[in-house]
Symmetry: C2
Subunit: 489 residues, 2 copies
């Protein structure tokens, strides 16, 4: 939600500001243990009829696509998130932002200006209602990066893969079960990566605790919690100058469930090795009624006719609580509330047989018994267990910004994996499963919180899939431009 | 869980140490608003056939029993909680502890010693497997106070009411739906109070936030959370010198659900006016597998044959998460885990249309928007909105002790209501409903988290029942002995 503001004076930029960080050493003390090499493909099958067939076409978990020395990116959607992404990606070496697409030409112009400031060549432009199709069809693109309104994520990503591109989708990647399956089957058939850009997997405490889980410090994680509790009502979803055509407000009408589960869910699903040794088995979900949104619509419409069409709509309940049980008998509690006045929280609670971590309400906390450890001990854990990626790129990421740095860690890592032919941290099964929690929560809420069984998007391969590699082995070759204070996002 | 230790020198005690606090003024700024007088009985009906009949015998919500100038108490169960209760109750004027009952005579002797130290007369003694029945039949008792193992709560409380006594049950008041109904019907038929001793309703932050709710500071509460997250495994439930006959360990075998829901639930149910304007409609519940208890049984049994019978038992899952929806579309999330290593928490989260409160992880927090208020502002809220009972008895309660004072506030308030002929804060519907969450959670867990409808123990009277009175109107006449440092619990 950060606004991209460049105060940078283009004329001052010099070539020698491009520096490389390839030589940064990776802290050996933080290496995750017990991880076999993941740089391997799955076993190819004949293309089957799809979700009705219980056979996986090809296992995209652990799949390493051919190396791409320079990743040519097309960005579709240049609103709040997309304009930021253009800025961030411009810092990364081995990247060319070759195409920009938006329905609104002024947004393309603003993104071109960003590229210009970053001494990046001008990109090809795609606009109009179906500009995204033309971009996906463009031969000279390797990766389509899609920060559009939610409804466009699956159509664009599927079309991109079908046109031979890897694809990164903003969250959630899918809004229906059909879309989840379409993502899975398209990725498997095309052998193109489909990564959902769950940036919160790359926040510092989340990465620390994930690496601590891998090192066994919390024992076995038996319960975890995540959330998206973020009061967006006045500032964002009811802001007539915010999301184009009020699309995000409209998402809250007529659908009831956890519409946006992945910020809280992604990091804990990684800690619990979902799709990689365990899987979601079933969930139940419950929503409150709406106690604020229609009232706000009424209040705003009393002063501004613009809001009249939003009065007395079937708004979703403010708070949704979903509980998911895994095949191995672990539980996850996921919440969503974007319309109640309360401090921001993603919870990020891990409860294991040896310890516990809790991010929100802040400050971050860790315990190995009945007491939270002291601040100094937490600092020591950060020093010892921050994973290699944080030691490698964390400081620069904080400089670049983007939700405190996590957005940039995600972008850098994704590009570095593509350039080095490594599996991506998040694959299409993660995208489908994490987004699927939202879809199934709607089903459960619609049936009085009925238990809903979870589809196995991996079609059995969760049993042998390995956790994603946290070691940077074979990667960490991609450089980053020096971040000048004026360029900070 | 505090041990009662008296270092008091009996010979130093003088009569003038008995002081009264009746004259303490009640802070007017904290008076709850909009509460009509609750000192009234319900409308009596003919006694019907019971739960199959949809008619309430008599409404015990708001019921004021005849005044009892001196409350003669019989305490049944003198283990950890009961021995503490004898100590606390001894501080209260207008109380006589006339009878003590336990299966173990040494516990009775210890409680008599407590009475002696407190310059209280010796109590009549009841022992043996059925000593509690004889105590309940004793003519010269007004109130039976029951801190026994869970399985005895309903039998004792029902028998006490049938023998003309008011009854206070430790938590949970009931373990089955039949027991819940038995409590309700017996209380209605006998017009005897059945109060479950949910002490957490009397903790300072809980009372503060309840009074803030009543004063509208959080707007309408749309979602709330409570829990009992307390690692009891090594210190209590697997402690061979702890609960008699290992009864609390045995409770964790063969039953799977939220066995102990009321510490977290009681305070939020009061904030949401459950049974008094709203009611529980349905719930879903999910448990993890057991990841620690059987392992601990194995570990202990390797060194001590005593634990051999506890190996490979069907232990309940460590973490249970239950979501309850109210008739008015509000939700509550309740958790229970007594076997995972993590810091103590009852959560106590309130999310309203105007603000939010969160007790755990500590420190306590309140927000009226996107930021938690500062410590100084929280202190101001404590000054302004701590309800009359805290201003009246809070300081003394902290001196007496018992979970920081809340136990004593509860005891004092209960006695004061009985002495002044006021309705008790917690009635039989609260006892049945709050305990019922545990019972129904077991049903839901046993059926793969199926949605379970909630019985309406008030048989419709929730629509007109009024929230309990927080003003102390007509009460606050009961004095308390001066608390000498040596007497502190």
């Amino acid at each position: 939600m950060l606004k991209l503001v460049f105060n940078y004076n283009f004329l001052e930029m010099k070539t020698d500001r491009r520096k490389f960080i390839q030589q940064l050493s990776v802290g050996a003390g933080a290496l995750a243990t017990g991880l076999p090499s993941l740089v391997k493909g799955g076993v190819p099958h004949e293309l089957g009829p799809g979700r009705d067939n219980n056979e996986q076409h090809f296992n995209m978990c652990g799949y390493a696509a051919p190396k791409i020395e320079t990743v040519r990116i097309g960005v579709i959607g240049l609103g709040m998130r997309g304009s930021e992404a253009v800025g961030r990606l411009s810092y990364i070496d081995g990247v060319e932002i070759v195409a920009l697409c938006d329905k609104y030409p002024d947004r393309i112009a603003a993104a071109q200006k960003t590229l210009e400031k970053m001494q990046r060549p001008k990109a090809r432009e795609f606009t109009g209602e179906e500009g995204w199709k033309a971009l996906c069809e463009d031969k000279n693109i390797d990766l389509v990066y899609t920060p559009t309104p939610w409804s466009l994520h699956t159509p664009i990503v599927v079309y991109a893969m079908k046109n031979g591109k890897h694809a990164c989708s903003e969250i959630p990647a899918a809004k229906t079960l059909d879309q989840c399956w379409e993502l899975v089957e398209t990725s498997e058939k095309t052998k193109k990566h489909c990564m959902m850009l769950e940036n919160c997997c790359y926040d510092f405490f989340e990465l620390l605790t994930l690496n601590m889980v891998r090192n066994g410090l919390f024992g076995e994680i038996l319960h975890a919690e995540g959330a998206y509790l973020h009061d967006l009502s006045r500032g964002y979803i009811f802001n007539k100058n915010g999301y184009a055509d009020m699309w995000r407000l409209k998402e809250n009408i007529g659908r009831n469930g956890n519409l946006y589960p992945t910020h809280g869910l992604g990091p804990i699903a990684q800690c619990m090795n979902i799709n990689r040794g365990d899987k979601f088995d079933h969930l139940v979900s419950m929503s409150t009624n709406d106690f604020t949104m229609n009232d706000l619509a009424r209040e705003l419409s009393a002063k501004d006719d613009f809001f009249k069409p939003y009065v007395d709509k079937p708004y979703r309940g403010n708070m949704n609580t979903t509980i998911v049980r895994s095949f191995k008998g672990k539980t996850m509690m996921i919440q969503h509330d974007v319309s109640s006045p309360r401090p921001y929280s993603r919870i990020h609670l891990l409860s294991g047989t040896k310890g516990c971590a809790s991010k929100y309400p802040e400050p971050e906390k860790i315990a190995f018994g009945h007491e939270w450890i002291k601040e100094e001990e937490l600092k020591n854990l950060y020093d010892k267990y921050s994973p290699p990626i944080v030691k490698h790129i964390g400081t620069i990421a904080k400089d670049v910004g983007g939700h405190g740095g996590m957005d940039f860690i995600m972008d850098w890592r994704t590009i570095d994996c593509l350039r080095n032919g490594l599996p991506l941290d998040q694959n299409v099964y993660d995208a489908a499963t994490w987004s699927g929690v939202g879809v199934l929560s709607e089903q459960s809420v619609g049936k009085n919180s009925k238990t809903i069984d979870f589809p196995d998007f991996t079609r059995g391969s969760w049993k042998t899939n390995k956790p994603h590699d946290m070691t940077l082995n074979g990667g960490a070759t991609t450089g980053v431009r020096e971040v000048k204070p004026q360029l900070k996002m």
